[in-house]
């Protein structure tokens, strides 16, 4: 698969903004991990920023960073994944609709509540008239965007494609999801998996990528992907994994590190445990949802972190599940994510150069 990541950008609950390695991740004590937002004003017009809700801000910012890293002014396609969409503006409009009994409503939150607002704001800022697409498939939204981007690169090998995943937490959405017995309090998010009693912690974030067909100066190569909707057994996932590795000519022993999308709740993590047992003992296991929390597009955070690790050769604290050192430099990373045990995805990355 000739798909090379040429630019990356992320706004997340972790540092590393500007794609700088970070060794000490931030820990959170309330079970809700919100983005660390940088000062955007040096590279996005301040008046524009003020009009944007958080999801649009973090989406536009991560996309802008990825394009800058790739040295691309205008991509040929903009493809976005978002599970819940613009929940803050949706909530604002609903709130006013009820409060004002459907009278005299400000249309702005309605206008900005549409899921494709993020992708269209990027297009508007860049004056990009090319392909513009938004997927909203819960825990596979980012994977749909990636699948589309990979197909587009086959259709048009000269293209530079911008794609990403973005979701936001609003006060109301956090409250709603907490009442569903989905997320729990956690005094130390970074230590989530070392605690006896644990459950999911709620996260948000935005990660965008530019891919094209040229390996020069790439962060990593995307060597393959697969999505599995409601798998009925671990063997179904293992089968998909073996197919994926075969197609990419990678043996299971070659995988230096696997990012497991465990969320901290055994109700959802049991298939991950089974599948990870089928991996080589030489493959180091890592987690990432203690850094970004659980949300529909957490796999996009994992891809950003994996690309950083492959290019810059660093391993942040708190992600390896065993104490052993990594013997060899990391050359191949597998991301195996799950969301509520309904959406599973595999993503294979290779180092470049």
């Amino acid at each position: 698969m000739k798909a090379y990541i040429k630019g990356i950008g992320s706004i997340s609950p972790q540092p590393g903004f500007g794609n700088e390695p970070f060794h000490a991740p931030v820990t959170y004590s309330e079970g809700v991990l919100r983005c660390i937002e940088p000062d955007y004003s040096t590279w996005i017009d301040q008046r524009a920023i003020r009009r944007m809700s958080k999801i649009i801000r973090i989406g536009v910012a991560a996309a802008t960073l990825a394009l800058k890293e790739a040295g691309i002014e205008k991509p040929d396609a903009i493809i976005t994944g978002t599970g819940f969409g613009c929940v803050e503006d949706t909530g604002t409009f609903l709130d006013k609709l009820i409060e004002n009994n459907e009278e005299a409503l400000n249309p702005t939150p309605f206008i900005q509540s549409t899921h494709n607002t993020i992708g269209s704001q990027i297009a508007l800022l860049l004056q990009c008239v090319g392909y513009n697409q938004t997927y909203s498939q819960r825990g596979l939204s980012f994977e749909c965007a990636l699948q589309d981007a990979l197909m587009m690169l086959v259709e048009n090998p000269e293209n530079n494609i911008l794609f990403g995943g973005v979701d936001e937490i609003s006060d109301v959405s956090a409250d709603f999801l907490k009442k569903l017995d989905l997320f729990s309090d956690c005094a130390d998010s970074l230590g989530l998996f070392s605690q006896k009693q644990h459950g999911m912690i709620h996260g948000e974030g935005s990660a965008f990528f530019v891919i094209n067909s040229s390996p020069s100066n790439a962060w990593a190569q995307i060597a393959g992907m697969a999505s599995i909707y409601k798998p009925q057994s671990a063997s179904e996932i293992v089968q998909q994994l073996n197919d994926l590795l075969n197609k990419a000519s990678v043996s299971v022993e070659d995988v230096n590190l696997v990012f497991l999308g465990k969320c901290g709740d055994d109700r959802y993590d049991y298939l991950i445990h089974e599948v990870s047992n089928s991996l080589s003992h030489r493959t180091r296991k890592a987690v990432f949802k203690n850094l970004c929390g659980e949300y529909s597009n957490a796999s996009s955070f994992a891809l950003w972190l994996a690309a950083m690790m492959l290019k810059k050769g660093f391993v942040p604290d708190g992600i390896l599940t065993e104490e052993k050192n990594i013997a060899k430099p990391i050359k191949v990373i597998l991301i195996y994510n799950q969301y509520l045990n309904q959406h599973h995805s595999l993503l294979l990355l290779k180092a470049c150069g």
Partner: protein, 396 residues
């Protein structure tokens, strides 16, 4: 890459009927589905809409389902089962669903939000579980037993054309053999009030492409196509209804809600769709216009059509004059109508047209016409965020 994508089945439900046959009867008899809103209690009940004439309870009974699902899910399953029912093919084919929706489970979320805000003790937070757009698609997928690909697109009013495009590409890339693609949207207070706050809802039945047009009427419904690869077509000895010849998705990059005056994005989507289809403008026999009835859309779209097709503008009409604007469902429903146009050699009337728009040199079709030789149909769907998509269906 696999070259051809075949349409072999379809299903539709809207204000003009709950089947393909009922839809064509409505078109032929000029029976509009636009009427005053009855579906829910609202201060805007005087607004005309295109409602599906069944309550959620009735739809649930018709489908044999528990009375707990949101309206988009019910409408979606209704149309999807209709498209799916006669499909008698091997289980071996990799089968996926791609569906567009903009409201998802918003009808139930609205109620939940009211209870939340008023601290109503009867609140059940589990009602939020089907809020997400993707959940509607998953309910349909589970109902039909589809697992290979489940994808939802929300690009506002172009969502379901983009679904058909994505499904076609998955088949062309050999990632799927069979796909059900289209979209669904139910009427909700959220969208009714949203469009009302933008002051683009006509208080009268809408008049697309008319000089006196004054906004759109919202509608609801669902429309799905069944798409298969050449391999499936041959091995299963299926008769194609038509083929997907080409498509394009572009962006107007002009304004979050308004279209550019010269239809920059819509011109590009129509032009690129023709290019991919290897067709000349003169070969298009009918255009199913986006034609919402707003001042802005129809002017922008009409000018783009005129710029591209020049002096030979094909018969064109907006079926939204019958169904209302069904947002994320419109592209799917209008795809069904486009396929019908090819199958039955007919073009659909644009209701309530009286006077030509000053900026245009053409009138929409105003009579139902049958017995025509329709080989290629273009369908346009544009949406908020500058989303512009065009798709072309061709006779096999």
């Amino acid at each position: 890459m696999e070259s051809k994508v075949n349409v072999i089945g379809m299903g539709v439900i809207s204000a003009i009927g709950n089947s393909v046959d009922q839809s064509i009867t409505s078109f032929e008899s000029h029976t509009s589905g636009i009427s005053p809103l009855t579906l829910f209690d609202t201060v805007h009940r005087y607004l005309p809409v295109g409602e599906v004439r069944y309550s959620n309870a009735q739809l649930s009974d018709m489908l044999g389902m528990e009375k707990k699902f949101n309206r988009s899910t019910l409408l979606g399953i209704y149309a999807a089962r209709q498209a799916w029912r006669e499909l008698n093919i091997s289980k071996k084919w990799r089968t996926g669903i791609v569906s567009g929706t903009t409201v998802g489970g918003m009808d139930i979320t609205e109620d939940l939000f009211r209870k939340y805000k008023t601290q109503d003790p009867t609140i059940d937070y589990h009602d939020i579980r089907d809020h997400e757009c993707g959940s509607v698609t998953e309910r349909i997928a589970d109902d039909l037993g589809i697992r290979n690909t489940v994808a939802t697109i929300n690009t506002a009013c172009s969502s379901s054309v983009n679904s058909i495009i994505y499904a076609s590409r998955l088949i062309k890339h050999g990632l799927l053999d069979v796909a059900i693609a289209g979209g669904v949207d139910a009427l909700t207070k959220f969208t009714l009030n949203g469009f009302n706050s933008l002051m683009i809802l006509d208080k009268q039945p809408c008049r697309p492409f008319d000089e006196t047009r004054n906004g759109l009427n919202l509608g609801e419904g669902a429309g799905f196509l069944i798409l298969v690869s050449e391999k499936v077509l041959k091995e299963e000895s299926l008769n194609p209804l038509c083929q997907i010849a080409g498509y394009a998705n572009t962006n107007d990059a002009f304004h979050q809600t308004a279209s550019s005056p010269d239809g920059r994005g819509s011109y590009l989507s129509m032009e690129q769709a023709l290019k991919i289809s290897r067709l000349a403008t003169s070969e298009i026999d009918y255009i199913n216009l986006h034609g919402t009835g707003t001042r802005n859309n129809d002017s922008s779209e009409g000018i783009a059509v005129q710029r591209l097709f020049k002096d030979t503008i094909p018969p064109s009409s907006s079926t939204k004059s019958f169904t209302g604007h069904t947002l994320g469902a419109s592209g799917g429903m209008e795809a069904v109508f486009s396929v019908l146009s090819i199958m039955q050699g007919c073009v659909f009337p644009n209701l309530r047209f009286t006077s030509r728009m000053t900026e245009l040199k053409f009138d929409p079709v105003v009579e139902f016409k049958r017995g025509l030789n329709i080989n290629h149909v273009m369908s346009n769907s544009f949406g908020f965020g500058g989303s512009c998509s065009s798709i072309i269906f061709s006779k096999t």
